[in-house]
């Protein structure tokens, strides 16, 4: 489990690196060494000449460019070099058959190794060798990395597809199979793939080893849905193949027992890999500002160099002949030369090491963010995934947060909540113990069946009526009939795929397919034959002949249903009297008798039985009908909470007959799943679905097979989808349509019928009330289409399909033509519950001063309700609604509000944008007065547009958070993109910089980690500027005393190591481990986020203050030394050493002033022994490895970073030590050790000026120490005084917060918090630290 997950993350983060590695391995493995080299050489040539449109793919193993990642390091969009291998290998490989590509390789490893851990697929093992023909053919499990182009592979259901595979055979008799492309494009619906034409017929007799055809395909492209190629049979016949035949890597095979196919693209060439751009490189605001200041540094350097050059010229021209200079030359020439000399000696001004250090610091910061247990979601077992390594500080500077609603704020677990059928509202309140149930992962909410609806439906059931005749009467337009039809629509009008049982592969462990000859004989047109054939598969597999009794089962089904006890009718009256607007979850405890339907399919994933392999379970199922009578935890808790009502739970639901084993529905969207589940609860069950037929089991009517004439798929402009069915009994053609209320209600047939009008009116009322409750509404309607109409429409539709221009639009129009004159059936309301902690998070963000905008595609009413419950809006706010059809109207509305606001005092208000217009400026002006904004009906592009407008026009730093494919563009546009790894696939996560598993983690990520990262990095950057500027100024002052000759008193070695060794650790200690405020305070006071939001730590003028300070300090350092050594016998190197030392001490004490928190000891809340043990173990194993992966990209930094981390880990936790002090001490020690060693050993090193014994001599003199001792306090005095004055007179927010907390602690008001173990109070609190009382408090604090 763990390795898989790990490998997944790896795949995401380091996809191509791994791919590359594996590719190389595989190349090495399969080919002789020399050829390998030739390939590599050829690769270069090929890169240049590779533009052939078509290549012979069978032998094209592509080495994808290894340099992509290297390019990434330089913040550029990687130039993607496709290295196909155009030149063919040996002629021996140019064969007509694909299969026998590497026969020898497979022969020598012919053993079957089922135990290998990450085996994902099977490869045809026995191959046909031109010389040797081996008859035994078996599949063998191999690793993904070993999959090569031309391999024949066998995949089972629910397996990830390891490469782009051309399907050659499927378990489906029609040659169909389905893939879930969720990982690729975020679409959760299943896509159908099929065996190429010409192969379908041969499926039964298909022998992989006899496959002799050549496959020709395009060169690899990034276009996921574009694929062309051909199969050339040995006879010379060409058969085209296309997208519909291609299985894509990283998709999941669904609804198919198995497929076999040939790999056409492997490894890096696969479309998935080509589409995975890896993490993108965004540049943070801080970095931009820093770059600006680096330019200033360059300018300062330039000025210094100019001054130096001019000085050099003047100094030289003051002499006629300079006696002690070896040769005198033209002063002007010397001056020019001097300029470049100065450039070289003063280039330290440009802090190159800053870039390295900052990357390293960010890396370690990301490491800590990644390791935060508070960002770990135990439900999904996911922690935060940091995909972008270089913008952690941007998290602390976010000004605008744009959030998606569905799936981000809400859970995107759709729960069928209400429906109105024929004007009657049916409520499905949540169970009382919903809070407890919510905790269990992965199980959808059960639907409490509405008893009234149940009872009304039961009128339709056969045995509720004594005679057939009365039943017939009831059928026509009666209320139950409407209900029936409504449910039928729910069950049919969708794209749900039904799986009756978990798919299983027919291949046995030894890799041989056990062919069942009867399987494909029967074209399964009817449900009976279909289920029989499936039964046969199952039976024949196990050779346990069980007679198929499908028909009987179905009849039994209806019988068993009929015995369902009906609740007394009086009860329902009470319910109808309950007006829809009065809905309230808490007001419905009066249903003790509610039957509960446990959704068996999904809970099967989590219930203990799921742990046993699916197959035995099925078998047991067949034999022992009561197997599924598992008292699920869900039921248990319902029982517990509902008290005495448990005995009335219907017999049916607890003891389902085997056929009631609910089919596995695989739907395009969770809404559909909720609808079909609801229909299922009322026994209107979709049994089977093929492209041509939908088989539905209806209560009272048995199993009906509808012919599907046409599916009108959903699209966002029509906002509806429809299915055109042919009723099997009446042969009527009925169009079932569901869609947004705005669309459907507008298309209703005009009616004069008062009842009908009233019905529509009431439905509308219900819809409004649903929307007010925050439910997602869908309206259902139907239309009976006459044969004539249909054929007429079909003709025109075919025309539209064939048209060349505007095809999409014409098809859409054609669909809309059919979706008119509808008859209203009813509507549904589906609840999308808010995620845990969303209101708290949003109010924290708002109080942090962040503007929160919610962008959703949903209805305004629904969105507003969600906004209220998410505390985006508060009741005190005034809501400004803006929705206009035209630009003018919008403009006038905006201007009206704007004028209104400007006239009066600015008021808080929510704001709703309904339509994008060109009114950016007034709109944005208006939004400035709003505390939060909600935009409804936004398409993905509009979302991105809004983000871009705010980002560019208002120049704000934006964060976008979303979970679905529709948020991708928004996520990519924003400065920080965050993906929620929720239910809607991985697309958002792939596009994001950080992937969270829950919205609520955003609070901690921004307020704590963002704050810290920004604060730390800002101070680190400033410190770096200071550090380098000081050093450069020191050298510059010396020029005044050496005739501007460019002489440097500091040894070259020290110059080099100054940044690398002597002063490198303290900045990192600040950049990574300093905390200006402990996290408790940050979380308790979101307003502290202001510091980063306004960028108040690193402002444009901060740089100049820093430089001024550096100037002052350098003057102090240099001139103290100068004055102390004035007119003495000091040598140049002694002097330089003294200056270097005092400079270094000043730097380090400067760090000490700037450090906000001195990490004390390695004790933690839990026992330190535990810490010690686990840490040492893990440091060497798990996380070091993970870090290794993260770091790998930074090859240069890698070694250093790992060393650093290990050192710090060891020292931080294992030994009781103090990181900051240690870093400072380490620097000092490093300096002295180095200088002493260098001055002792180096008699004549690298041609550098000789420093032999200088440090010893210098240290021996008192002046050295006195100078250092004087320089440090004097240089740091202004900064120190300023810091004190700042704290005393105008303290910053953070300082005040810490002071407040400390005072509170000292007064004894609050001793909950562990951080307050400080200075004077430390002993007191340490004493109680591990006491139970304290523990209790700590937990409370964490919660609060």
């Amino acid at each position: 489990m763990a390795p898989e997950r790990l490998s997944w993350t790896c795949e995401a983060v380091l996809a191509f690196l791994r791919g590359y590695k594996y590719q190389v391995e595989s190349v090495k493995w399969s080919r002789p060494h020399t050829e390998n080299i030739i390939e590599l050489i050829g690769e270069v040539l090929v890169t240049l000449s590779f533009c052939a449109a078509r290549i012979g793919v069978p032998l094209c193993v592509c080495l994808s460019s290894p340099d992509r990642r290297l390019c990434c390091g330089f913040r550029e969009r990687p130039v993607r070099i496709l290295c196909g291998r155009a030149f063919n290998h040996t002629s021996g490989f140019r064969i007509t058959s694909i299969a026998p590509k590497t026969p020898t390789m497979h022969q020598e490893s012919s053993r079957i190794d089922p135990a290998s851990p990450i085996t994902n697929k099977l490869i045809l093992e026995a191959a046909v060798n031109p010389s040797k023909h081996i008859e035994t053919e078996r599949y063998k499990k191999v690793f993904w990395k070993d999959v090569k182009v031309g391999d024949l592979i066998h995949l089972s259901n629910n397996e990830f597809i390891p490469a782009d595979v051309l399907v050659l055979r499927s378990s489906d008799p029609h040659g169909l199979c389905y893939i879930d492309t969720c990982n690729l494009d975020g679409e959760t619906n299943l896509k159908q793939r099929q065996v190429p034409r010409g192969f379908i017929e041969k499926q039964d007799v298909f022998q992989p080893s006899k496959f002799k055809s050549v496959v020709e395909v395009d060169q690899p492209t990034t276009k996921i849905y574009r694929f062309h190629g051909a199969i050339i049979h040995p006879t010379g016949e060409r058969r085209p193949v296309g997208t519909e035949n291609l299985l894509l890597r990283e998709c999941v095979l669904k609804n198919t027992d198995y497929v076999e196919g040939i790999v056409v693209y492997a490894g890096h060439e696969t479309k998935a890999m080509l589409n995975n751009g890896g993490p993108r490189y965004k540049r943070s605001e801080l970095e931009r500002q820093m770059n600006l200041d680096v330019i200033w540094c360059v300018l300062i350097l330039f000025v210094l160099c100019i001054i130096g050059a001019v000085g050099c010229k003047l100094w030289l021209s003051s002499y006629d002949v300079v006696p002690f200079i070896p040769f005198a030359s033209d002063p002007i020439y010397e001056g020019m030369l001097g300029f470049w000399t100065f450039v070289i000696i003063l280039q330290v001004m440009i802090p190159l090491s800053l870039y390295v250090t900052i990357e390293m610091a960010k890396l370690i910061q990301v490491y800590h963010i990644h390791n935060d247990v508070h960002l770990y979601d135990p439900d999904t077992n996911k922690r935060i995934e940091c995909r972008a390594l270089n913008i952690p500080e941007e998290l602390g500077q976010v000004q605008y947060v744009f959030s998606d609603k569905t799936g981000t704020l809400t859970e995107n677990k759709m729960i069928f909540r209400r429906c109105t059928i024929a004007g009657v509202d049916y409520n499905h309140p949540p169970p009382e113990n919903a809070q407890n149930l919510k905790l269990q992962p992965g199980t959808p909410m059960p639907i409490l069946v509405n008893p009234r609806l149940q009872e009304e439906l039961s009128l339709l059931e056969p045995n509720s009526l004594t005679e057939n005749g009365t039943r017939r009467e009831l059928r026509f337009n009666s209320h139950p009939q409407r209900l029936q039809e409504f449910l039928l629509l729910l069950a049919v009008c969708n794209t749900v795929v039904v799986a009756r049982h978990p798919h299983h592969d027919m291949m046995n462990a030894s890799g041989v397919i056990e062919l069942v000859p009867t399987v494909f004989e029967n074209h399964s047109g009817t449900p009976m034959s279909s289920s029989r054939s499936r039964g046969d598969i199952r039976n024949s597999k196990q050779t346990v002949p069980i007679p198929s009794k499908t028909v009987d089962k179905y009849s039994r089904l209806s019988e068993s249903r009929s015995v369902t006890p009906s609740p007394p009718p009086s009860h329902f009256q009470a319910q109808t009297s309950d007006p829809p607007s009065g809905y309230s979850g808490g007001k419905k405890p009066e249903f003790p008798h509610q039957p509960v339907l446990s959704p068996i399919n999904s809970s099967a994933e989590t219930t203990p039985t799921a742990d046993s392999p699916p197959f035995p379970k099925l078998l047991k199922n067949a034999i022992r009908p009561k197997l599924l009578n598992v008292p699920s935890m869900l039921m248990a808790s319902v029982k517990k909470s509902s008290g005495n009502g448990n005995n009335s739970i219907p017999h049916r639901s607890t003891t389902p007959s085997p056929c009631e084993l609910k089919p596995i529905y695989e739907a395009e969207s969770p809404d559909e799943l909720a609808l079909i589940d609801a229909a299922y609860s009322y026994n209107c069950r979709l049994v089977k679905r093929t492209p041509q037929y939908a088989t539905v089991a209806l209560p009272g009517e048995g199993v009906l097979e509808f012919e599907i004439l046409q599916i009108l798929p959903f699209d966002s402009s029509r906002k509806s989808m429809s299915v055109l069915l042919k009723h099997p009994v009446t042969n009527e053609k009925i169009l079932y349509c569901k869609g947004a209320d705005s669309t459907i209600l507008a298309q209703l047939a005009p009616t004069d019928d008062v009842i009908m009008q009233q019905l529509i009116f009431r439905t509308q009322q219900h819809l409004n009330s649903y929307a007010r409750q925050g439910l997602r509404v869908l309206v259902m309607a139907k239309r009976t289409v006459s044969d004539h109409e249909y054929s007429d429409w079909l003709r025109r539709h075919e025309e539209a399909e064939l048209s060349l221009d505007n095809r999409d639009r014409r098809i859409r129009e054609s669909y809309s033509r059919l979706e008119t004159n509808l008859t209203l059936l009813g509507a549904t309301g589906i609840e999308d519950r808010l995620q845990d902690g969303v209101p708290e998070t949003i109010s924290a963000l708002i109080s942090a001063g962040i503007m929160v905008w919610v962008l959703t595609g949903d209805k305004p009413e629904t969105a507003i309700n969600v906004a209220y419950s998410a505390r985006l809006f508060s009741p005190q706010m005034e809501l400004l609604k803006l929705s206009a059809r035209s630009k003018d109207a919008a403009e006038s509305a905006i201007l009206f509000y704007l004028a209104d606001i400007q006239r009066e005092t600015p008021l808080e208000g929510g704001y709703i944008l309904d339509r994008r217009s060109n009114l950016q400026k007034p709109f944005l002006d208006l939004t400035r007065y709003c505390s939060s904004v909600l935009c409804c009906r936004a398409t993905p592009l509009q979302k991105a547009y809004i983000v871009r407008v705010v980002k560019e026009q208002l120049k704000m730093r934006t964060l976008a958070i979303g979970d679905g494919a529709n948020d991708v563009s928004m996520i990519q546009t924003a400065d920080v993109g965050i993906g929620i790894s929720g239910q809607e696939g991985m697309q958002a996560v792939m596009a994001s910089d950080y992937a969270l598993s829950r919205f609520k983690y955003l609070e901690r990520l921004l307020l704590v980690h963002g704050h810290w990262c920004y604060d730390r990095l800002s101070r680190m950057v400033l410190y770096f500027f200071y550090k380098n500027a000081t050093f450069v100024f020191l050298i510059f002052w010396f020029q005044l005393y050496c005739g501007f000759s460019g002489s440097v008193m500091i040894d070259q070695m020290y110059l080099m190591l100054y940044n690398l060794l002597f002063t490198s650790l303290p900045p990192i200690a600040i950049g990574v481990y300093d905390q200006d405020v402990p996290e408790e305070i940050l979380l308790a006071r979101p307003s502290l986020y202001r510091q980063g939001r306004l960028g108040s730590v690193y402002k444009p003028h901060s740089f100049w203050i820093t430089v001024a300070d550096a100037l002052y300090q350098s003057i102090v350092i240099f001139f103290i030394s100068e004055a102390a050594y004035h007119d003495t016998d000091v040598g140049i190197w002694d002097f330089g050493t003294t200056v270097t030392t005092s400079c270094m001490f000043v730097m380090l004490f400067h760090v000490a002033i700037e450090t906000r928190s001195w990490i004390q000891r390695s004790c933690s809340n839990t026992s330190s022994d535990v810490q010690r043990g686990t840490n040492v173990m893990w440091l060497l194993d798990g996380d070091a490895k993970h870090l290794w992966r993260l770091v790998f990209r930074y090859k240069l930094v890698y070694a250093l970073a790992r060393f650093w981390c290990r050192w710090i880990l060891l020292s931080g936790d294992y030994r009781p030590t103090i990181i900051h002090i240690l870093s400072i001490l380490a620097s000092i020690v490093a300096f002295y050790i180095f200088t002493i060693v260098y001055n002792t050993v180096c008699l004549e090193c690298l041609g550098l000026p000789n420093n032999y014994q200088v440090i010893q001599q210098t240290m021996g003199s008192m002046v050295y120490w006195l100078v250092v001792g004087l320089s440090v306090p004097m240089a740091l005095l202004p900064r120190f005084v300023w810091r004190c004055v700042e704290t005393c007179l105008f303290p910053r927010d953070v300082t005040r917060a810490v002071l407040d907390k400390r005072r509170a602690t000292q007064r004894g008001e609050d001793f909950l918090v562990s951080w307050s173990r400080s200075t004077s109070t430390s002993s007191i609190f340490r004493a109680t630290e591990n006491g139970p009382k304290n523990l209790n408090h700590t937990s409370l604090t964490v919660v609060g």
Binding site: A2, P875, A1123, V1130, I1159, P1273, C1288, W1315, L1335
Partner: protein, 424 residues
């Protein structure tokens, strides 16, 4: 409910952590830490050690979830969570007061002591740049520049007002001499000075690497530094005792330089240097630098060594001689009285407008006479004391105010506003 949950989780975490810790210790000891821990199977979980019944503490589903992921366990270290206890110094007036007072109180005595030591040093500076030739009465500088006379000897009388007790050193001082010039500093060949003579000296020595006049012999020691070796010969005559003050030519260079860094080539010096020319400005070859002491010749000549250690600043002094205190009359130092300085004037400074000085000085803890450090220490100490007082004032004035400062943060009450529930 969440509180309970949280607490349970923490307890569980602890129990589990202990188990994790125990395992490797039992199985493989401390050494093989990783090997003993199987990451796949989380450690067995003990029942929740909570006072409440387990059912109330966590539901059964939660119970399953209470199995922590191994990662969660190990990541929960104070270090990784950045929760190491920290001391947060805040530089308020109160906390920095001691710092200022301590610095002030420490620095002022140090400064006073330094001033005292500096005053203790006796120093006599004699600028002899403009001295006249004893014979021709012309300015020696002019004579040298014009090269009208090979030798110029001057004689300057001076008086020591008081006794110079202790060891007395004799320096020569030069001003305006840029020994730290970039080209000058590097114009030397350290390998050569190590005694490893080569016919091609380092290119750094250019243009003082080869003797242009003398058949292009390589120069030893080469380079501009050596070439500009201070060549005046200074002697002191004591008028009181009527004898020359005994001066030592050795012991003026760093021992490390003398013993390791500057080595003569092996063999007889004259022989060794026979293929090498003397530097252009030199009167005598390198093996005849000290005629009185044959050991003090060649590269190991201490005057050369001292000169080769280039000065940091354009005005500098270099140790020239030590007064030999072994002699009876100078055992207590240099007595006061009249002295005469005899200068064999050969070194020309007019081209760079320099001055030449002879300095007689005793030493102290600090070396020479330099009141700067003492004054600086006193000043800094005073400033710190002053600041301390100012901050004391601030502390008294504002420290109280901060305590009663109520305008800090608007209290954020997340729970208070009545938020309409979705279900209402």
């Amino acid at each position: 409910m969440p509180e309970l949950r949280c607490r349970c989780r923490e307890d569980l975490m602890r129990v589990q952590q202990e188990e994790v810790l125990k395992r490797p210790a039992l199985e493989s000891g401390w050494g093989g830490g990783v090997g003993g821990l199987n990451l796949e199977t989380p450690p067995r979980l003990r029942p929740c050690p909570h006072v409440l019944p387990i059912e109330d503490c966590i539901s059964q589903f939660e119970w399953q979830r209470a199995w922590l992921h191994p990662w969660e366990l190990t990541a929960n270290s104070a270090f990784k969570q950045q929760r190491l206890p920290a001391w947060q110094p805040i530089l308020t007036a109160g906390t920095v007061l001691p710092t200022f007072f301590v610095i002030g109180i420490a620095f002022i005595p140090v400064g006073v002591a330094l001033l005292y030591f500096s005053d203790e040093v006796n120093e006599l500076v004699l600028d002899y740049t403009d001295c006249n030739d004893t014979l021709s009465q012309g300015r020696c500088e002019d004579i040298i520049v014009n090269q009208s006379k090979p030798n110029c000897l001057c004689k300057i009388n001076f008086t020591l007002e008081k006794d110079f007790p202790g060891k007395v050193y004799m320096y020569y001082g030069l001003t305006n001499f840029y020994q730290n010039h970039r080209r000058y500093v590097k114009s030397r060949d350290d390998n050569q000075l190590l005694g490893q003579l080569s016919t091609t000296p380092s290119t750094d020595c250019q243009p003082f690497a080869f003797d242009v006049n003398d058949t292009k012999k390589p120069i030893a020691p080469c380079g501009a530094i050596a070439n500009s070796l201070f060549s005046d010969n200074l002697t002191i005559y004591s008028n009181l005792k009527n004898e020359e003050v005994p001066l030592l030519k050795t012991g003026i260079a760093w021992p490390s330089d003398k013993q390791i860094k500057f080595r003569n080539p092996p063999g007889e010096l004259k022989e060794a240097f026979k293929d090498y020319a003397k530097p252009l400005n030199w009167q005598r070859p390198v093996y005849e630098l000290d005629l009185s002491d044959p050991k003090n010749n060649g590269f190991e000549n201490e005057d050369l060594i001292v000169w080769m250690r280039t000065a940091a600043l354009p005005s500098f002094r270099k140790l020239y001689r030590r007064v030999d205190h072994d002699k009876d009359s100078y055992r207590q130092g240099l007595p006061s009285g009249n002295y005469t300085l005899y200068v064999n004037y050969t070194y020309q400074v007019s081209s760079f407008e320099g001055r030449k000085k002879m300095i007689l000085s005793t030493t102290s803890l600090l070396g020479g006479k330099n009141p700067f450090l003492g004054i600086a220490y006193i000043v800094v100490g005073c400033v710190c004391l002053l600041l301390g007082i100012v901050f004391l004032f601030i502390h008294i004035k504002c420290g109280k105010r901060n305590h009663t400062d109520k305008r800090r943060f608007p209290t954020l009450d997340l729970q208070s506003p009545a938020v309409p529930r979705m279900n209402r």
